[in-house]
Subunit: 312 residues, 2 copies
């Protein structure tokens, strides 16, 4: 069965987006350790894949941005990527971050020259903060609904397919609202329709897993996980719409399996990967996904040294 | 002034060695973080560059090895590389390791199928242990005197020059007995004579620094450093002979500077690098070597998670 991508996600569009990425961004390092494929996007500029979407977005739309600049809401890695791209494209940027956001990530945003607006830990307070910035003339990037953000994310899948000489049997992707997951599926499956693309969430933040398997959008009342990059309490609208056709399966992993994979990555692969970034690998290593030749996207590496120290 | 390499180190010979390396070995990842060039040989198979020498040596000489196999003396990374290559080329191997060797590294050797002979912490006891193995029919690889080991090491310098589009102004290399240092200089300076190649040692294990600057071989009575891969108390004979012509300078760094660089690598580069592997970077970051565009070889990443945890 051949899938037909939405027009904005046609392979040629994704490839055009890839060509707009600035040279500072690096192709993902791919490594095989004990047979498992690792896609080391933790080594990407800013320490996560999110800079792909932000750099692409600004490279494409910088000239139309209002003087007051851009804003978005993020628990961390998106905000860091926004700040990096804002500095790169000389656009003032503001990140709305919940108070529960990791202080180390807040500090990273500021160090890159981004403004930070801290808001309460509810979706309502965050929406209010964004509305207030919009009233002040800032343009809001709605990264849950903007197809261009998914186009930016998709460049990782393109790079991965370019890096591998054989099409992978399985690509495993950590999921929060599901943006990277569906973007990867759009890129990978237009090139290799038989490759399985599987999303992974921690047990305590499994909104997309339960939604996928019930076929109905599920919202979690609370989210309990150490994976601070994977705390969405429901799938993003656009990822949700696309995931039923493009994603092969969704599985969940225990916090213990994530912890074990973070430690394994340090010991065996010499890589620092944050908990959320290691969730996909944890599914392969714990047997939740069975493919001894599967490829796991390590989506981010932003973990405070002191916190990593406790995990080891 | 154009240097003339010894015949065994002629560029064509080094390139021929590179062509013998098995495909499991990976070209060094090069990354620029905050302007500093990182040569991530910590991500090499076995977690250090030493597998280059062992894999090359076995690829070339496997057919002449006696049935009892090969042995060498090593504090850790060489022994791990020996074990990996022994498994790869189906040759029985034995590592003579001093009792002070890090238990985690001893365990790695055994996990790869290598035999370990533990000996006392003196050069004499080690020599005795090797002699006893030789009497049992094993062939000893004398990695301090065997030019072929330096030929194997030199493939890292070749790979580095291949990876960079412009010749680097400075390449900084951690040094213990100095094998990697002079091997890198032989490779790099035959391709780019104006590139400076500088060796770095920790203050408490600076035999090669003092030898280089005094022009006379210096032996240390004791070695005090956390850099367990850099504990030589005098330069290797062959590196010593070559370093005066081929190495541009030798500097030393404090334990504190090494510690700070190990931490910086985790926080900013998302890389796990062992203390000795970070000594070169420490010289660039602490200003001991002044070149904001210098390249530091991160020579190894074998550090027990528990120990890394204490360093963070």
């Amino acid at each position: 069965v051949s899938l037909v991508a939405p027009r904005w996600a046609a392979l040629a569009n994704l490839r055009a987006a890839r060509s707009l990425l600035p040279s500072e961004l690096v192709p993902p390092l791919t490594r095989t350790v004990e047979g498992l494929g690792l896609v080391c996007e933790n080594l990407q500029v800013t320490g996560s894949y999110k800079v792909r979407a932000m750099a692409y977005w600004m490279a494409r739309f910088a000239s139309a941005v209002p003087k007051a600049g851009l804003a978005l809401a993020s628990s961390g890695n998106f905000a860091i990527a926004l700040a990096w791209a804002g500095r790169r494209y000389q656009i003032p940027v503001t990140a709305v971050m919940m108070r529960r956001s990791h202080p180390w990530k807040v500090e990273r945003v500021r160090a890159l020259g981004g403004q930070v607006v801290l808001c309460g830990d509810s979706t309502e307070e965050r929406t209010q903060a964004l509305a207030s910035l919009q009233a002040q003339g800032l343009q809001i990037i709605d990264h849950l609904n903007d197809p261009e953000v998914l186009v930016g994310h998709s460049t990782l899948g393109l790079d991965l397919m370019h890096a591998l000489s054989d099409a992978p049997s399985t690509v495993v992707v950590p999921a929060s609202t599901g943006g990277l997951l569906v973007a990867t599926a759009l890129a990978v499956k237009q090139i290799s329709p038989t490759t399985r693309v599987i999303g992974v969430q921690p047990e305590g933040a499994n909104a997309m897993v339960t939604s996928f398997h019930s076929g109905k959008l599920q919202r979690l009342d609370q989210v309990v996980t150490e994976c601070d990059a994977l705390t969405a309490n429901l799938p993003g609208p656009l990822p949700w719409e696309l995931c039923r056709a493009w994603v092969d399966d969704m599985v969940q992993v225990s916090e213990q399996a994530v912890r074990e994979s973070v430690r394994w990555l340090v010991e065996e692969a010499k890589l620092v990967v944050e908990p959320g970034g290691a969730a996909g690998l944890a599914a392969l290593r714990s047997g939740q996904i069975q493919d001894s030749k599967g490829w796991a996207i390590l989506s981010g590496g932003n973990m405070e040294p002191r916190r990593l120290s406790q995990w080891l």
